[in-house]
C-alpha cells in the first residue's frame, strides 16, 4: 500500500550484504541491479542466493524477487523473526560470510535467534568462526548485547570441503546502548587460537611458537591456545589457521588471522598473522578494522544521543557503508581527527546522533 515507491536503488554486486542488512533493519525496500551484468557469468552467485535464502528464513514476510537473469533483485523486507533456524552454507564461502549480516540483525529479532550453520568455518576471505566468537561478539557487548550471546563451534571445517558446524545464539534487545568509546588505551594482553584439523597436531604448536617469537617482545601476557579437533568434529578437509587478538586496557580489541596455504610452512602463517596484528595495532582506534561497519551500524541504531567512537582510517567497505547508512537512515557521521595536535596519528573520531531505533519486532507481555 503505502510502501510503494519507497524503494532504494543500488547497482553492482558489491556491498550486497550490508545493503540487505540495512534494508531489513530500516524496513525500506531495496532494489539492486546490474549484478555482474558485464561478467562472463552474470547474476548472483550461489552463496549470495544462499544468503538471501537465509535472510528469508530468519525474517517473516520478506519478499525477494530475483530477475530472470539474476542480475537484479528486489527485497521487500519483513520483520526479523529469529527463532531456531538451520542453514547449510555453500562451500564457495565460509560461515563468516553468512554470520556477519546475521550478527547485525539478530539482536532486533522478535525471538532470540538460535542459528545453526554448516559449512566452512575458516577461510581467508571472511571472518572465521573463531574471530566472530572472540572479537565480533565482544564488540556487540559494547552496545549492551551480552546476556546469552554465544557462538559454539561444534565442528570445524576447512575449505574446500568444509563439514564444520557452528551454533549462534543471540538474545534480543529493546534498544542498543549509546557507545562512547574514545580512549583506545594500550594493549594489555594478547590471546590467540591456533587450530589444526586433519593435519599433524604439532602444526598448531609450531604456529604458536612462531607467533610468540614476534609478539613476546611486547608483553608477557600472551596466551595462544592450541585447539585441535579430531575425528568427526574436524570436518572433511585438512587445514590450520592462527587467529590472534590484542585487547587494550579499555577493552578495545584488534585482531588478525592467517589461514593455511598450500606449500607454506605453519611458521610463516603464524608470522603473517602476528605481523598483521601489529599492523592492526599500529592503525589504532578502539574498534578493529574488520568491525568498523558493525560498530558504526550499532551507533546509528542507538538512542537519540551522540555516540562517539575512535577508529583508524575507514576501509573502503566502511566508506560505502557510511554512504548507505545515509540513504537508509538519513544519518551521517561527523568524522574528525582524534587528536588534531598530532599530525602522525590518522585516528578519527566518528560521532553520530543515533536514530533512536527501537526493536519494533519485540513482543511485550
Amino acid at each position: 500500500m503505502a510502501q510503494a515507491g519507497n524503494v532504494i536503488q543500488f547497482s553492482g554486486h558489491q556491498y550486497l550484504r550490508h545493503r540487505l542488512v540495512l534494508s531489513i533493519l530500516s524496513g525500506k525496500a531495496v532494489r539492486i541491479d546490474k549484478i555482474r551484468s558485464d561478467d562472463k557469468n552474470p547474476g548472483l552467485r550461489d552463496y549470495e542466493v544462499s544468503l538471501l535464502r537465509l535472510l528469508e528464513r530468519i525474517t517473516n514476510g520478506t519478499v525477494i524477487e530475483i530477475s530472470v537473469t539474476g542480475t537484479a533483485i528486489l527485497l521487500k523486507p519483513g520483520i526479523i523473526a529469529g527463532g531456531s533456524v538451520t542453514h547449510d552454507c555453500p562451500l564457495s564461502r565460509s560461515i563468516g560470510y553468512f554470520l556477519e549480516p546475521v550478527v547485525m540483525l539478530a539482536p532486533f529479532a522478535k525471538k532470540s535467534l538460535h542459528l545453526t550453520l554448516r559449512g566452512i568455518t575458516t577461510d581467508d576471505r571472511d571472518l572465521s568462526a573463531d574471530l566472530i566468537r572472540t572479537v565480533t561478539l565482544p564488540h556487540l557487548q559494547l552496545f549492551g548485547i551480552s546476556e546469552g550471546l554465544e557462538l559454539r563451534i561444534k565442528k570445524r571445517g576447512s575449505p574446500p570441503l568444509g563439514g564444520g558446524e557452528v551454533q549462534f545464539l543471540c538474545p534480543i534487545v529493546k534498544q542498543v546502548k549509546t557507545l562512547n568509546f574514545v580512549d583506545s588505551g594500550r594493549i594489555k594482553r594478547i590471546r590467540g587460537i591456533s587450530h589444526a584439523v586433519r593435519v599433524n597436531p604439532q602444526f598448531s604448536n609450531r604456529m604458536i611458537e612462531a607467533a610468540r617469537s614476534v609478539l613476546n617482545r611486547y608483553i608477557p601476557d600472551i596466551y595462544l591456545y592450541s585447539d585441535v579437533y579430531k575425528g568427526e568434529d574436524s570436518g572433511k578437509s585438512p587445514g590450520y589457521a592462527l587467529s590472534i587478538l590484542a585487547e587494550s586496557t579499555t577493552g578495545a580489541i584488534h585482531c588478525a588471522e592467517a589461514t593455511s596455504q598450500p606449500g607454506v610452512p605453519p611458521e610463516d602463517i603464524a608470522l603473517l598473522a602476528s605481523r598483521a596484528l601489529l599492523e592492526e595495532i599500529r592503525r589504532g582506534g578502539c574498534v578493529d578494522r574488520k568491525h568498523q561497519s558493525l560498530a558504526l551500524l550499532m551507533m546509528v541504531l542507538g538512542s537519540e544521543d551522540v555516540g562517539r567512537c575512535r577508529m583508524g582510517e575507514p576501509t573502503a567497505r566502511t566508506i560505502q557503508f557510511l554512504r548507505d547508512v545515509k540513504d537508509f537512515f538519513g544519518t551521517s557521521f561527523k568524522i574528525a581527527p582524534a587528536d588534531p595536535a598530532d599530525e602522525t596519528s590518522s585516528n578519527l573520531i566518528f560521532s553520530a546522533y543515533g536514530v533512536g531505533y527501537v526493536n519494533a519486532n519485540r513482543t511485550i507481555a
Partner: protein, 1155 residues
C-alpha cells in the same frame, strides 16, 4: 553596548530606624522559628514509624528517570490547548490570555498564537473546536490542556471523551476551568456546584488536580486578576516528557502555504497534487530529512526540504535577561499568522499584510473599500520581489512588531533574523551568528554555481591531491589559518580572512598566492562571508578585527606546518559530499601519507596501482578480511619498526606519550583544538612537557577534589541508583549538546537533523489538492515525524478493552476507527483471547469488563504505544464515542488466530469398536488430510480417524474406545486459522470541505438501512420449533430355548408378586414363663461371655502396641542406615558419571572458553 551601565550596589543601612527594624525582625524570627522540641517524636516506636513514613514518602516522589530531548536553552513554545464544548468561553479565554501576555486584543483568533510568556518561556495557545478529530490531534501535541467546563451546566460528554483520548496518548497536564459561574445566582448553590464538579474532576484526573473558577465576562474578557492568576499557573507549570513525544519529532503548523505554480493548477483545473509549505516550531526529537511525516487527516507525506528560519517570536536575549522583568517590547511579541495580529510578514512564499481590526482575510461579509481590496489582492501575490527584498530590511508600518523577515532560499539552512529586529543583543554573540547569515544572503545565488565548479575542478585538474586542502573538521566561522602553497604541491590557501586584505574584491576568483590551484571547500561562502564580516566589524566600530592580530606569525606557522605534513583530509566531505568511489578515497589517503614528495601529473590515475586490492578477481568479492600479503607486512621484519609501536602496549616506555593523548578524556578539548587550529599548532612543538605537566596537575587536582568530597560527605558521594541514572542522562545530554557545537548549522542539520525549538519551514510534496482547497485554520495541522519502522504496514496485535461507557459490544470484523501514533484510521480488527497459551482463539465479541486481544492490518506502531478507538467520529453519534482503548503489543506479518470448527458425521456401519463414518468429508483426499485426527461422539466416546473408504466419497473408517451407536453423531473438532482483512482507511478529515463529515466504511446493516434493503434470509437459518419425540425402548425378550439353557442365577425371574399371607405371617408366638426365664439366663450368659472376650482383646492389644513400638523403633534405625548407605552409593556414582561426561566433552570445551 550603550545600555550596559553599572548600577550602584545596594547598601543596607547600618544605623537608623530601618536598620533597627531589620535587626528586630531578625530577633523575632529567631524567636518564632522552628522549635525542635515541638516536633520531636515522643517515643522510640513513634520515631521509627515517622522515619519509615518519611522514607516511603521519599520513594513516592521518585519517578522513572526519563530523558528530555527538548533542549533547555531554547525550548520550543509550550502548547497550551483550550478545549471544551462549544459556547463555554474558549475564545474569550484565549483572547484574555493573549491580552494578558501581549497587551493586544485579537478580534478574530484562528490557529496557534505564540506569545512570550517569560524569560525562558514561550507559549503557543491554540483553541480546539468541537470536532472529535481536532480533539484527537490536539490531545497528541498539547503540553497543557485548559479544559473548560460550563459551571452552570456541568460536565458534558465531550469533556470525558477528550479526557479518555488524552489518557490513551500519554496524558499531558490538565487544568480545569469552570466558566459561566456567574449564572448561578445563589451562593449556596454555587458552592455546592463547585464542590460537586471538583470532586468529579478529581476522580477523573487525580486527587487535587487544579480547577480554576472564572466568573463573568467584562469587556469581552475574563477578569484580569483571574487571568493573571491563571497565567501564573501556566508559567510555573513543569512538564514531564511523554514517551511518544520524546521519540518522535513533530510540529504544530502555525502557517500553511501553497507553493504550486499557478499555471499548473490552472491547467489541471485545481486538481493537481500540490507542493505545500508548513511552518512551525519543531518539538519532540530531532527532525531528519529523508524521513516521512504524517499529517493526521491528510496522510503520509514526504518532505521535499526543511529550512530553518529565524525565530518569529524569539525569547528575550541576554541583554534583557539582566532585567528582572520582561521588557515592554518583548511583551508585545506575538506570532499568529493565521490570526489578525497587526504585523506584516514577508517571505519567499507569501506576503502577509494584516491590518488589525479593519478587515481580515477571507472575511468577505465585511464591506471592503478599494484600497482594502488592493491589499487583499496583494496578499495573493506569490514569489515576487523575492530577491529584491532579500537584501533589505524594511519595516512597513511603524506599529508592526516584526520587520520584513527575509526567508533565505531553500538551500539555506539557517537565518537568524534576531539581529534584524533587535540591535540590543550582546555584541559577540550576534556577530557570530550574523556573519554567517550575511555571507549566505549575499552569496545566495552563487552557491550552486560554485559547488558545480568545485566538482569540475576536482575532476579536471588535480586528481592526485584533490582533497589535500579539505578541512580536517567541518567548517568553522573563525578559522584563521590556512595552508600556504609550496612549489611541490599545489594547495589551497584558505586564508579566508585575508581576502579583504589581499585581493579585496575578488569573491569567486582565487587568491594570488594560490595560482592555478583549485579549492576544495566545505561551505563555499567563505570569502564573501568573511569580507562582510570585516565590514561589519569595522562599521560596528569595535577594536581591530581579530584575524589581523598576528597575521605574520600565523603565516609562518602555516608554512612550516605545510612543509611537515600533508594536510589532513576531510573525511566527512569526502564520504558524504563527493562522488568518488570508496577505493578512490582510500587511494587518495595512501598517496597523501606515503608519497609526500610526489610530483604530479594531471592524469596520474593510470600510474597508480591499487595497493590494497590484489587483482581483479579478489576485488569482485564482498569480503571482510583483507588479503594478507607478505610484501605489505615486510616492514615488520625490521627491528626498528617493531620497536616503534612499543608505546602502544602497557609495557611500553612511559617516555613517549601514548598515542591517545588527552582527547580521550575531555571532548571539549578537541573542539577547542579544531576551532583554533593555529594556536595549537604553534604551541605543540614548543613545550609538550609543560602541557603534560599541566595535564598531570589537573588530574591530580580532580583526584584531590574527589577525595575531599568523599571524605567530607561519605554518604553524599554514594549515589543511589536513581541519582546515578539521572547523572548518566545529564552527562549524555551534555555530550549531545557539546559534540556538534562548533559546526555550522547546515552540516549540523545533516548530522543530527533539525533540533527541537527551531522554527522551520517544511516543504511537502504531492499533497492532495483538497487539503489546500478546503483549508480551515480552525482545524489544527499537526506534522508528526515517523520513525522508519512506522512507515511499514503489517498486522498489529493490541490489547484492547471496550470502554465501560460505550453502550454496545464490539464485534469482530466490524470496522473500527483507531487513533494510534499520529494516525487516525479505520480498519477491521479481529478480537481474540489466549486459549490456555496454546492458541489464539477468535472471539465474536469483546468480553465484558475484560481486556482481550485485537489484531488488525494497518500501519505499524511501536509496541507499548497507546491508542483509543471509535466507532464513529461524527458529532451526530449518540452517546459516548470512545469505544475502546488499549496498547500495542506486537507487530507481525502473519497472524495465528484460529476459530473452532466442528465437522460432523454419522456412522453407517458399526463393528465392535470400529465404525464407518460418512458425511464428514466430501472426498478421500480430505480424509487423508485428517488421518489420525481425534474424533468424539456426542455421548463422549473418543476415537480416531483411520483411513478413507473407497465406496461413498468422503467416508472413512474410524476406531473408538467403545462401541458407538448408530444414533450417535460424530464430531471432529478442528481449528481454522483466520487472517484479518487487509483494510486500511485513513481518516482524511482535513481533505473534506466539511471536516467533521468524514465517513468511513459502513456496516452492512447501516448500508441496508440507508438503502432501504431487506436482509436476505437463508431458509436453513430460520428457527423452527424443535420437536423431540420421547424415546421408547422395546421390552427385553429372552427366547425360550435360551432361557431354558441358562443357569438359574441368570434366568429371568419373572414371578407374580405374592398375594396371600404366608404361614408364618399368619401365626403369633407366645412363650411359657420357664422358657422366658431360660431365655433371659441364656442372654445374660452371652453378655458375660462377650464382656470377657472384649477385656481379653483389650489386654492383648495393649501388649501388641508395646511390641509394635519396639519394632517401629528398630525399623527406623534400620532405614536410617539404609538411607546413609544409599546416599554414599549415589554420591560415588554421580562423581563417576560426571567425570565420564567431562572426559567426553570437557577437554575441548574448557580450552575454548578460556579466551
Amino acid at each position: 553596548m550603550s545600555e550596559q551601565q553599572t548600577h550602584k550596589a545596594h547598601r543596607p543601612s547600618q544605623s537608623g530606624a530601618k536598620a533597627e527594624k531589620k535587626s528586630k525582625a531578625k530577633g523575632k524570627e529567631k524567636q518564632h522559628g522552628f522549635n525542635e522540641k515541638a516536633f520531636a517524636p515522643r517515643s522510640g516506636r513513634r520515631a521509627e514509624r515517622q522515619g519509615r513514613r518519611k522514607v516511603e514518602k521519599d520513594q513516592t516522589r521518585l519517578h522513572v528517570p526519563l530523558v528530555n530531548r527538548t533542549p533547555d536553552d531554547e525550548p520550543p513554545p509550550v502548547i497550551v490547548a483550550i478545549v471544551g464544548p462549544p459556547g463555554v468561553g474558549k475564545t474569550t479565554l484565549l483572547k484574555s490570555l493573549v491580552r494578558r501576555y501581549t497587551k493586544q486584543t485579537l478580534n478574530h483568533v484562528q490557529g496557534p498564537v505564540t506569545v512570550v510568556g517569560g524569560k525562558k518561556k514561550r507559549i503557543t495557545f491554540i483553541e480546539c473546536n468541537n470536532d472529535l478529530n481536532s480533539m484527537i490531534d490536539i490531545g497528541k501535541v498539547a503540553d497543557l490542556v485548559l479544559l473548560m467546563i460550563d459551571g452552570s451546566y456541568g460536565f458534558e460528554m465531550e469533556t470525558f471523551e477528550f479526557l479518555n483520548i488524552l489518557q490513551a496518548h500519554g496524558f499531558p497536564k490538565v487544568i480545569g476551568i469552570l466558566s459561566h459561574l456567574d449564572l448561578i445566582k445563589k451562593a449556596a448553590t454555587l458552592r455546592a456546584t463547585k464542590k460537586a464538579l471538583k470532586k468529579r474532576f478529581w476522580t477523573e484526573i487525580y486527587q487535587g488536580a487544579k480547577l480554576f473558577y472564572l466568573s463573568g465576562v467584562l469587556n469581552g474578557r475574563y477578569p484580569d486578576t483571574e487571568i493573571l492568576n491563571l497565567s501564573r499557573f501556566i508559567g510555573v507549570m513543569k512538564f514531564r516528557p511523554l514517551v511518544f513525544r520524546n521519540t518522535h519529532p513533530y510540529l504544530l503548523a502555525d502557517r500553511f502555504e501553497d507553493l504550486t505554480p499557478r499555471e499548473e493548477i490552472r491547467a489541471s483545473k485545481g486538481k493537481c497534487d500540490r507542493t505545500v509549505t508548513v511552518y512551525g516550531y519543531l518539538r519532540g526529537t530531532n527532525l531528519r530529512l529523508g524521513t516521512k511525516v504524517h499529517i493526521p487527516g491528510v496522510g503520509d507525506l514526504s518532505m521535499k526540504s526543511v529550512t530553518m528560519l529565524g525565530d518569529p517570536c524569539p525569547l528575550p536575549d541576554a541583554e534583557s535577561e539582566k532585567r528582572r522583568k520582561l521588557s515592554e517590547k518583548r511583551k508585545l511579541q506575538v506570532h499568529a499568522p493565521m490570526s489578525d495580529v497587526g504585523g506584516v510578514i514577508y517571505d519567499k512564499d507569501a506576503v502577509y499584510i494584516n491590518v488589525p481590526g479593519s478587515f481580515t482575510r477571507g472575511n468577505t461579509d465585511v464591506p471592503q473599500g478599494e484600497g482594502e481590496k488592493m491589499v487583499m489582492d496583494l496578499q495573493d501575490v506569490r514569489e515576487t520581489l523575492e530577491d529584491g527584498v532579500a537584501r533589505s530590511q524594511i519595516k512597513l508600518l511603524g506599529s508592526s512588531s516584526k520587520p520584513l523577515a527575509v526567508d533565505p532560499g531553500p538551500s539555506r539552512s539557517h537565518m537568524d533574523d534576531s539581529d534584524d529586529e533587535d540591535d540590543d543583543e550582546s555584541a559577540g554573540e550576534s556577530d557570530d551568528g550574523s556573519e554567517d547569515d550575511y555571507g549566505e544572503e549575499l552569496d545566495s545565488g552563487a552557491e550552486e554555481e560554485e559547488g558545480d565548479w568545485e566538482l569540475e575542478g576536482e575532476e579536471e585538474e588535480d586528481t592526485a591531491h584533490p582533497h589535500d586542502s579539505g578541512r580536517s573538521s567541518l567548517r568553522e566561522v573563525r578559522r584563521s589559518m590556512r595552508d600556504l602553497p609550496s612549489d611541490g604541491q599545489r594547495r589551497e590557501v584558505e586564508y579566508a580572512e585575508s581576502d579583504s586584505d589581499l585581493g579585496g574584491s575578488d569573491v569567486d576568483d582565487d587568491h594570488g598566492l594560490a595560482g592555478p590551484s583549485k579549492r576544495v571547500r566545505f561551505g563555499d561562502e567563505d570569502d564573501v562571508e568573511i569580507a562582510s564580516d570585516a565590514e561589519e566589524e569595522m562599521s560596528d566600530g569595535e577594536e581591530a578585527p581579530r584575524w589581523k592580530a598576528d597575521l605574520g606569525e600565523k603565516a609562518r606557522a602555516a608554512f612550516e606546518q605545510h612543509g611537515r605534513k600533508g594536510k589532513r583530509k576531510d573525511w566527512t566531505k569526502l564520504i558524504y559530499m563527493s562522488s568518488l568511489s570508496p577505493a578512490d578515497i582510500l587511494r587518495d589517503v595512501s598517496n597523501a601519507s606515503s608519497n609526500k614528495d610526489q610530483t604530479m601529473a594531471l592524469d596520474d590515475e593510470d600510474f597508480f596501482t591499487v595497493v590494497s586490492s590484489s587483482g581483479p578477481q579478489e576485488e569482485v568479492l564482498d569480503q571482510t578480511k583483507e588479503v594478507l600479503r607478505v610484501e605489505d607486512l615486510k616492514e615488520w621484519e625490521d627491528e626498528e619498526m617493531l620497536d616503534s609501536i612499543r608505546n602502544l602496549f602497557i609495557t611500553g616506555g612511559s617516555t613517549e606519550t601514548p598515542a591517545e593523548g588527552g582527547s580521550g578524556e575531555e571532548f571539549g578539548d578537541e573542539d577547542s583544538a579544531a576551532a583554533s587550529d593555529d594556536e595549537h599548532q604553534a604551541e605543540t612543538p614548543a613545550d609538550p612537557e609543560a602541557a603534560r605537566a599541566a595535564a598531570l596537575a589537573a588530574k591530580k587536582e580532580a583526584l584531590k577534589r574527589k577525595f575531599d568530597e568523599q571524605y567530607d560527605d561519605p554518604e553524599g558521594s554514594q549515589m543511589g541508583f536513581y541519582e546515578e541514572k539521572k547523572e548518566e542522562i545529564a552527562r549524555q545530554l551534555e555530550l549531545n549538546r557539546a559534540e556538534f557545537e562548533g559546526i555550522d548549522s547546515e552540516a549540523r542539520a545533516l548530522i543530527e537533523g533539525y533540533r527541537p525549538g527551531s522554527y522551520v519551514r517544511i516543504e511537502l510534496a504531492d499533497v492532495p489538492c483538497e487539503m489546500v482547497e478546503n483549508f480551515d485554520p480552525s482545524y489544527p495541522i499537526v506534522v508528526g515525524g515517523l520513525l522508519p519502522s512506522e512507515e511499514r504496514f503489517g498486522f498489529v496485535q493490541v490489547r484492547i478493552k471496550r470502554h465501560r461507557w460505550y453502550a454496545k459490544t464490539l464485534k469482530t470484523n466490524d470496522p473500527l476507527i483507531f487513533s494510534l501514533g499520529w494516525r487516525r484510521f479505520q480498519t477491521i480488527p479481529i478480537y481474540s483471547l489466549d486459549d490456555h497459551s496454546i492458541r489464539m482463539r477468535m472471539l465474536k465479541y469483546t468480553p465484558e469488563h475484560m481486556h482481550c486481544y485485537a489484531t488488525f492490518y494497518g500501519p505499524v506502531a511501536l509496541p507499548n504505544t497507546g491508542f483509543c478507538a471509535f466507532n464513529s467520529l461524527s458529532s451526530g453519534a449518540a452517546g459516548f464515542r470512545v469505544s475502546a482503548s488499549g496498547v500495542v503489543l506486537d507487530i507481525d506479518r502473519s497472524t495465528k488466530i484460529v476459530k473452532k470448527i466442528k465437522l460432523t458425521g454419522v456412522p453407517y456401519k458399526i463393528f465392535k469398536n470400529t465404525a464407518f463414518v460418512k458425511d464428514m468429508f466430501t472426498s478421500a483426499l480430505e480424509v487423508a488430510k485428517f488421518e489420525g485426527a481425534n474424533i468424539r461422539t456426542v455421548s463422549g466416546i473418543r476415537g480416531q480417524v483411520k483411513k478413507a473408504l473407497a465406496k461413498p466419497d468422503g467416508a472413512f473408517r474410524a476406531t473408538f474406545e467403545d462401541k458407538v451407536l448408530m444414533s450417535d453423531i460424530i464430531f471432529l473438532r478442528a481449528w481454522y486459522s483466520i487472517q484479518p482483512r487487509k483494510f486500511y482507511n485513513p481518516v482524511t478529515s482535513l481533505l473534506l470541505s466539511h471536516q467533521e463529515e468524514w465517513q468511513g466504511m459502513r456496516l452492512t446493516g447501516q448500508v441496508r438501512r440507508e438503502e432501504g434493503l431487506k436482509t436476505p434470509t437463508n431458509v436453513n437459518s430460520i428457527y423452527k420449533p424443535v420437536e423431540r419425540p420421547g424415546r421408547r425402548f422395546n421390552p427385553l425378550k429372552v427366547p425360550k430355548n435360551l432361557q431354558a439353557a441358562l443357569p438359574y442365577a441368570s434366568k429371568p425371574k419373572i414371578m407374580k408378586a405374592q398375594s396371600r399371607q404366608t404361614y408364618m405371617q399368619k401365626r403369633a408366638v407366645v412363650l411359657e414363663p420357664e422358657e422366658k426365664k431360660a431365655m433371659a439366663l441364656l442372654q445374660q450368659m452371652r453378655a458375660l461371655r462377650k464382656d470377657q472376650v472384649a477385656r481379653r482383646k483389650e489386654k492383648q492389644e495393649e501388649r501388641r502396641t508395646v511390641h509394635r513400638q519396639k519394632v517401629a523403633k528398630e525399623e527406623a534405625k534400620k532405614s536410617e542406615k539404609e538411607k546413609e548407605r544409599r546416599k554414599e552409593y549415589m554420591r560415588v556414582v554421580g562423581i563417576k558419571s560426571k567425570r565420564e561426561s567431562e572426559r567426553e566433552e570437557g577437554g575441548r570445551r574448557s580450552k575454548r572458553t578460556k579466551t
